[in-house]
Each structure stands twice: as C-alpha cells, then as structure tokens.
C-alpha cells in the first residue's frame, strides 16, 4: 500500500510538472534504450565468439541464421527456458538482488554516453563522475550475489572482485583526471567538443598515451576480463561469483559483463579518441550528421572492444597478489606522476593542436 502511494505521488509530481506526454515519451525512450542494449549485448557476445574463433583457428558460430548471427539469440532463448534454480541454503533475497544490481548499474552508466551530437540520454555537468560512481556499484551486486548463493568458490571470486574493483578504480580515476585536465570539464559533450581539432590521445602526446594505456589496463580489470578475470577464473573457481546461477540470473550477469565492456570502450573512445568526431573532419559537410556521428563513435568503440578481445584470447590470467602488485606498485605511481606531468603540460600549454 505504501509503495503504491509513493509511486502515485511520484507520478503525480511528474505529471504536474511536465505533463503526461513527457512521461510517456521518457518511458518510450528508456524502452528503446534498453532494447537496443539488450540486442547490442547479444551482438557483442556473437562478436566475441566470432573473434575468438578466428584467433583460435576456428570459425565460431556459423549455423543459426545468416553467418550465425542468430546464435546468441537462440542461446538467450535457451537460457530463458531454463529452470531458475535457487540453492537450498542460499539467502534468497540477496541471491536474487545480486543480478538486478549488476545489470542496473551497467545500464545506468549507459545514460551519459554520448553516441553523437544530441544523441545522449543525459548530459549533465558531472557526467564522468556519474560514470565512475555508478560503475563501482556493480561490484556490490557481485558481492551480495556471491554471498547469498552460499558457495565458497563464489565467495572467493566475490572477494577477489571487491579487491580488484577498489584498487583499479584508483588508476582508472587518474587516467580520467589526465583527460579532465586537458578538457577542463566533466561534462561528456564538453570533453568531446574540446577534441574538435585534435583527439586527446594526440593532443596530450606522451602523458595522454600513458594515461590511455593505464585506462585500458584498469578498464580490462574493471570488466573482469582476461588477464584480470580472477573473479570468474573458470579453471580455478568453476565460474566464480555466478557459479550457482542458472537461466536468466546467469544471463543477466553475462549481459552485464558485455555491457560493461561496451561502456569501458565507449568511455575510452569518448575520452581519448574524440567520441563521435570524424578523424580530420572528413565527414563534416555531409548530411545526417547524427548518423555519421554514431557510425564514427561505434567504429572507435569496436576498435577498443577488439583490443580487449585480443588481450583476452592471448594472455594468461594474473594471480591475485600480482594483480595488486601491478596496481599499487606500477599503475598507481605511474598514474600519479603522469597526472602531475599532464598538469604541468596543460599549465605551460604544451599541448599539440593540429589545425
């Protein structure tokens, strides 16, 4: 009853301030957004499997639909039809809350990613801060999901996840700060616009390249991918934190992982590779600028995603203490020094401006 009431109040407030149509349009946009990312996540899974296939001298999925494009849809259907299994000794509330938190955190971060000029759900002045805040919520879902499922392997995985997330947020933050120093704003569109003439990767030359590498490494770590997939570590922990999940619970975790990969790549493309801007402005005069923007943006994102996949299918997994050594002894000091150098460069205006 209380819930109903509070929802009503919220609804009334929305209707009074903005009108019913505004609410409906918002809801429609949200639905399109979610649908788009569900499909995009599935396509990313397909892409991953294809790329893995070619790396491993295989073909990858090629039977369902043209070029096997429908393979992951078929897999998703299979997962939906599976029995939802809750372990007898599990803490049911936490067990179920786990995957919702993970998927919601992943989807929330999508809100501030600019796909093209004007194509962005939310553009507010602390967009970058929002992303780094929201993306660290996901680990909470992993932790309580693993705790709730009462499995020692899950718990080991979740503990590793917490450790990893706390550590690597720092160096990712320093890499982002290097960009913020150049852009002078936390607003996502502002950052892209600041790269009008030169991408930050080239504008900030050496420190920006170092920041980009740190960002890629800590981004890989935050998405729990090889070489930092200790959280799942299938040869050590079975499946890590989602050992006990089946059906859609597992699918949510899986989808969240891929959406997180998309977010990290999108963030990298926005911060370092000029977001939706065309290289050298080659498509600037053409009509349908929003479409070109999206094409360039997605292209850059896919290059980064491919890089992450290349890492994944080449490297062995790192050990937990080496993970911390890498962060605290290498990435963090380098990131700190790099930030100082970057500040110096910005202060002296030694940035490279082409055009």
């Amino acid at each position: 009853m209380m819930n109903m009431l509070s929802i009503n109040i919220f609804q009334n407030w929305l209707e009074q301030t903005h009108g019913i149509w505004y609410v409906l349009v918002l809801a429609g946009i949200a639905a399109i957004y979610l649908g788009f990312f569900a499909v995009a996540g599935l396509m990313l899974v397909y892409l991953e499997r294809r790329v893995a296939g070619y790396f491993q001298l295989r073909l990858g999925p090629n039977r369902v639909g043209p070029w096997g494009l429908l393979q992951t849809i078929a897999d998703a259907l299979k997962l939906v039809s599976k029995e939802i299994f809750i372990p007898k000794m599990a803490d049911k509330l936490l067990y179920k809350a786990g995957y919702y938190i993970v998927i919601i955190a992943a989807l929330l971060a999508l809100a501030v990613i600019p796909f093209a000029r004007q194509i962005q759900a939310l553009d507010f002045n602390v967009g970058l801060f929002f992303i780094s805040a929201v993306s660290s919520v996901g680990v909470l879902g992993i932790l309580i999901g693993a705790w709730g499922s009462r499995n020692k392997y899950s718990l080991i995985g979740a503990m590793r996840s917490g450790l990893q997330m706390i550590s690597y947020e720092l160096s990712a933050g320093f890499a982002i700060i290097a960009v913020v120093l150049m852009a002078g704003t936390l607003k996502m569109t502002g950052i892209v616009e600041a790269q009008k003439h030169t991408w930050f990767l080239f504008q900030g030359h050496l420190p920006a390249i170092i920041a980009f590498m740190i960002f890629l490494i800590s981004g890989t770590a935050e998405t729990n991918r090889v070489p930092f997939d200790l959280v799942e570590g299938e040869s050590e922990l079975g499946a890590g934190f989602h050992t006990e999940y089946s059906g859609m619970g597992f699918a949510f975790f899986f989808l969240a992982e891929f959406i997180n990969m998309f977010i990290i790549s999108a963030l990298g493309a926005t911060l370092f590779l000029g977001g939706w801007l065309a290289p050298f402005g080659i498509t600037d005069g053409l009509p349908a600028q929003w479409l070109w923007g999206m094409i360039w943006f997605l292209l850059k994102v896919f290059v980064l995603i491919f890089l992450l996949m290349w890492f994944r299918w080449t490297f062995p997994r790192i050990r937990i203490d080496q993970l911390l050594t890498l962060e605290w002894k290498y990435l963090l000091p380098v990131g700190l020094v790099n930030t100082v150098i970057m500040a110096w460069i910005v202060w002296k205006d030694w940035l490279i401006h082409l055009g």
Partner: protein, 159 residues
C-alpha cells in the same frame, strides 16, 4: 632491471604474444587461411582404411562367409563382446552332421577395439569396418548379428 625497464620489458613480451595470435587472426578474417575446422556433416570426415570402427563379417555376392564357428575370437575377446551360437546341421553335400554357426553375436557396446579377435581368426572371416556412425538411442541396437540371415560357409575354407 630498472623500474621503467621492467615496464617496457613487460609490454614487449605482451606484444610478442599478441603478434602471434594477431598473425593468425587477420588472415583468418578475409581468407580463413588458417582455419582448421572441418565442418563435419557438410564436409566428409577423413577416415583411414585401417580405422577400427566395428567388427564386421565379410560376405561375398552369394551370401557366403568364411566363419567356421571355431570360437577362437570368442576366447580371444577380453570383454566377452563376442558370443557364437552354433548348431549341428546336415551338410547337404556330404550328408554328414557338421558344426556350423547359427549366430555370430557381437556386442559393440562392450568392444574395446583391441583387434585380438581379428588376430585370432584362423580363416580371416571377421574384419574391421571403418563405419563410425554407431550412435543409437537404444543400447540393444548395439548388439549385432554379424552373419547375414541365410548365409552359409564358403566352400573350401575349412581345408
């Protein structure tokens, strides 16, 4: 090694590994140059003539086989996969009673493909077939009778 040297060395080794996988990946996108997948039902499986698929009994065009029913294969078999049911029948030519096989039963489900029965056979009646499509839904179907119905012993084998 210095601090920076370590970092550079690490990046170098990682890049060396990435070059190997990348060297396979990029030719694979366009030409599928190194792809080793054999897409089985579309492309036929490569089976070599000596492949040990299942034991079969050779029959000629007159539905005659070479098995005399001596049970050497049954004794040689370590798993009891072969059972021979034999009967005494009157030989139409000589008119004498004679030991002949009724059914040469072969349990494929128990066979370990050790070739001992084929080594043991004095008349080369049984041999390997390269057939490997042996999956069934019913385990009973894996028990086979090797001699075809109505078949008889080839003349001149017993000498």
């Amino acid at each position: 090694m210095t601090y920076l040297g370590k970092i550079l060395y690490g990046i170098k080794t990682l890049w060396t590994g990435m070059k190997v996988t990348g060297g396979y990946f990029f030719p694979n996108i366009t030409r599928k140059k190194y792809v080793i997948t054999r897409q089985y039902p579309d492309e036929p499986a490569v089976v070599f003539p000596r492949f040990k698929g299942e034991v079969v009994m050779w029959h000629n065009e007159n539905n005659e086989h070479r098995c005399t029913g001596c049970q050497a294969c049954e004794i040689a078999c370590p798993n009891g996969s072969i059972e021979i049911i034999w009967k005494r029948e009157v030989d139409p030519e000589t008119g004498k009673k004679k030991k002949m096989i009724d059914q040469h039963i072969y349990h494929l489900s128990m066979c370990t493909m050790c070739s001992l029965c084929i080594q043991a056979c004095p008349t080369n009646a049984i041999m390997w077939s390269t057939n490997f499509h042996n999956a069934t839904y019913d385990r009973g179907l894996l028990t086979k009778v090797l001699n075809k119905p109505g078949s008889k012993l080839m003349a001149g084998v017993e000498e």
